[in-house]
């Protein structure tokens, strides 16, 4: 077994652990901090079902962003929708046999790779072209986009320019899941692609990528507007309740 394969196996175990544990800790934190007052942005649904619908529209269609800025919405939604297809397409590397839906998605996932890079390019362009967005952009904002675009381009490169031995890649990934390290092809494009993906997983729980779990815990979106009907009281605020 080459040192390279062992190093990449170690890298992916580490990245997976950081991603899973890091995000789990953040979710525990978000769930654990109380929301003492009802602060949904109104008009808001009055029932839990309504809140679930509002949240679904927000997660699936980016409803608020659509209201805010059509350009950001087009690029942002394109990127995220394409990312979902690309991730689904990649599931085949982790399954044997491959789920039927994952088989179906292969053709779409391929084009989604281009859509993803196009969306990211649009989002990045805004950071240079719109003076307000330029003002708020930090080095980390640019690096996130660079990282995602590099992942997309290296992936597309392997599909259309310099193919790698995907059968071996699949064996490597399946091996990882059985704690049985298999040889990884030493193609530069593949190694770069995988290293960047691992980097993305590593930074996820310590970066703005936390917007993904954050949305589900946003009181402005996940609370029902029922303050007159239901008494809402958080633990620390209950102390004041007793004093009155």
């Amino acid at each position: 077994m080459s040192l390279l394969s062992i190093a990449y196996a170690a890298l992916f175990y580490l990245a997976t652990a950081v991603l899973v544990v890091g995000v789990a800790l953040k979710i525990r934190r978000y769930a654990g901090v109380p929301a003492p007052l009802l602060i949904p942005t109104t008009p808001a649904p009055t029932t839990t079902t309504g809140v679930a619908l509002r949240m679904t529209r927000e997660v699936v269609f980016f409803e608020s962003l659509f209201k805010a800025s059509k350009w950001t919405w087009i690029f942002g939604w394109l990127f995220h929708a394409a990312l979902v297809l690309v991730l689904l397409r990649h599931l085949r590397y982790f399954q044997q046999p491959v789920w039927t839906p994952v088989v179906w998605v292969q053709a779409f996932g391929l084009y989604a790779g281009f859509a993803m890079v196009a969306g990211l390019a649009g989002l990045w362009a805004r950071r240079f072209l719109v003076d307000r967005v330029r003002y708020i952009s930090t080095p980390s904002d640019h690096l996130h986009l660079a990282l995602l675009i590099a992942i997309g381009l290296t992936g597309l490169g392997m599909r259309f320019v310099a193919p790698t031995d995907i059968v071996a890649v699949k064996a490597f990934m399946l091996g990882l899941m059985r704690l049985d390290v298999q040889p990884l092809p030493a193609d530069p494009l593949l190694l770069l692609h995988l290293a960047l993906v691992a980097l993305l997983m590593l930074v996820f729980p310590i970066s703005k990528l936390l917007h993904a779990p954050g949305l589900f815990f946003s009181p402005g979106r996940n609370q029902a507007d029922n303050s007159r009907e239901v008494r809402h009281l958080a633990a620390w605020a209950a102390v004041y309740d007793k004093q009155k």
């Binding site: 978000y30 980016f62 209201k67 708020i136 930090t138 930074v203 703005k208 946003s218 402005g220």
Partner: protein, 498 residues
């Protein structure tokens, strides 16, 4: 300190997003509260050595108490959706008035002390130490946010800058840096019972005077009862309704509605203020203490219903927070919502046919309606989401013939703040108030030009006071603004004099 002269923005026929003008409002700061004002609220009088650590400590405490703050600090991706949504940015072009940049003033400190990336790679993620320079920026720009929540409507994660501003003001108060206007008022509400500092005898005198005025106008004994035990309704209304124009016209309107519907009601000298500036400074304890006066007064007077007058932020606190702060309300009449907005009450009476109007009385007015931010984006009226938009407009249409809405994108949940909310209604921030009113003034100008609108109805004491002050800067008459119940009071049919 005199206010430096400034230029009133020009009204354009359609909205234009300004180019970023770095530092355009860096000079705008409110007066600092004196140590005496601070002491009354239990805050330190001034900055003392070691305030940096205490501020960071307070931030840590708030991050553990408010999920909103914790989640909002982590979730922003700098997408820019909010960047052109704040009226203060649109009116000034100062980039630190973009909601995302305003939040980032705190997010930088949050990252530095509470996140892995900020502790180890501060430059990369824009993390900053808690220094005097940072605090100065906080002081300047967290006092240029009216906590109106317009940005939160458009944020893909629902991030609400109001929550961040409130936390920043709470942190600044906790290290001895308080805002004079807001904190002085909170002191007054505790000592005297209302924000304007009107003592009980003066209040009684004013109400007696109003009874005489209405008698003169109508020939009827329309009462303005104070501290009347056993009344059905206790009305809690902003103290501006007692002394300020055009606010008092709405108070007369409420009294006429109670009279015409035959509902016994009373005001309270103890709770002679609906406003609750505890909200503006983000202090839960103050907000509860101020709310508690209402409960005590209502129980002492043995009333069965609580109705809240025309006041935006007061309605937010009452509607969304009272049940938490001073509930449960099982001791009140459960056939009515607790609390109930005066507009909900009037609307119900109209639906029942219990009050009638002579709509022609308002024919000299061509009316538009300004949605107040706290009513629009932080509360509700009626049982349907969005009732807060429908009910006031239906009342206006029931009492007047000529009504025109301002354009989409400036009403309902996308309404623009008047420019004076959130504890900024003070003359030391006049330039900010005038410039922040720009988007609303442009929308108003459009209906004035197209439909000849000459009256803008509002249901918020701050909106009314702010517009009275800034309308003339834009070439409008200050008396163009008034209350919904001002229109109600003029058209309501009271029956013949006895």
């Amino acid at each position: 300190m005199a206010i430096a002269p400034f230029e009133t923005p020009k009204l354009k026929p359609y909205p234009v997003i300004p180019l970023v003008a770095v530092g355009a409002m860096a000079h705008s700061k409110p007066y600092v509260a004196s140590p005496i004002i601070q002491a009354r609220l239990g805050f330190p009088g001034e900055l003392e050595d070691g305030w940096e650590q205490r501020a960071v400590g307070k931030m840590g405490e708030l991050l553990g108490k408010y999920r909103s703050l914790q989640v909002y600090m982590d979730s922003c991706v700098h997408c820019g959706a909010c960047s052109d949504k704040c009226h203060y940015f649109l009116g000034t072009g100062d980039p630190k008035n973009m909601p995302v940049a305003r939040q980032d003033l705190m997010r930088g400190v949050y990252r530095r002390y509470f996140t892995f990336a900020g502790k180890h790679f501060p430059k990369l993620v824009g993390a900053t130490d808690m220094t005097k320079e940072v605090l100065d920026d906080w002081w300047t720009y967290y006092n240029q946010c009216s906590e109106c929540r317009r940005c939160s409507v458009f944020c893909p994660y629902g991030i609400d800058t109001a929550e961040v501003t409130m936390a920043a003001r709470e942190i600044m108060d906790s290290v001895g840096l308080g805002q004079k206007y807001a904190n002085e008022i909170i002191g007054k509400v505790h000592r005297i019972g209302n924000n304007l500092g009107i003592p009980e005898p003066a209040l009684a005198n004013t109400l007696a005077g109003l009874e005489e005025d209405v008698k003169e106008e109508t020939g009827l004994d329309v009462r303005f009862p104070l501290d009347q035990e056993g009344a059905e309704v206790m009305l809690v209304t902003p103290s501006a309704d007692f002394f300020s124009e055009p606010h008092v016209e709405s108070l007369i309107g409420y009294a006429k509605v109670f009279h015409a519907a035959g509902i016994s009601w009373t005001l309270s000298s103890k709770a002679s203020e609906a406003g609750n500036f505890g909200l503006f400074i983000g202090n839960y304890e103050q907000m509860q203490k101020i709310s508690l006066r209402v409960k005590e007064a209502a129980q002492e007077l043995r009333v069965r219903r609580l109705v809240v007058g025309e006041c935006g932020h007061a309605w937010r606190v009452a509607y969304a927070f009272w049940n938490t702060l001073i509930g449960p309300f099982d001791w009140l009449d459960s056939r009515y919502p607790v609390p109930q907005h005066i507009c909900e009450m009037t609307y119900d009476l109209i639906q029942q046919g219990a009050i009638q109007f002579d709509k022609e009385k308002n024919d000299d007015r061509i009316i538009t309606f300004h949605d107040s931010c706290n009513v629009a984006r932080a509360s509700r009226m009626g049982s349907m989401p969005g009732g807060q938009f429908v009910i006031p407009r239906e009342i206006i249409k029931a009492v007047a013939n000529r009504f025109h809405d301002m354009s989409l994108g400036t009403t309902h949940e996308a309404t623009f703040c008047c420019g004076g909310g959130g504890g900024l209604l003070t003359d030391d921030l006049l330039e900010l108030r005038v410039k922040g009113a720009l988007p609303r003034m442009e929308a108003l100008k459009n209906v004035v030009d197209q439909h000849g609108v000459n009256f803008m109805a509002a249901i918020c004491a701050i909106c009314k006071a702010q517009f009275s002050k800034v309308l003339p800067y834009y070439g409008f008459d200050m008396s163009m603004v008034g209350g919904v119940h001002q229109l109600v009071g003029r058209a309501i049919v009271l029956g013949r004099p006895h």
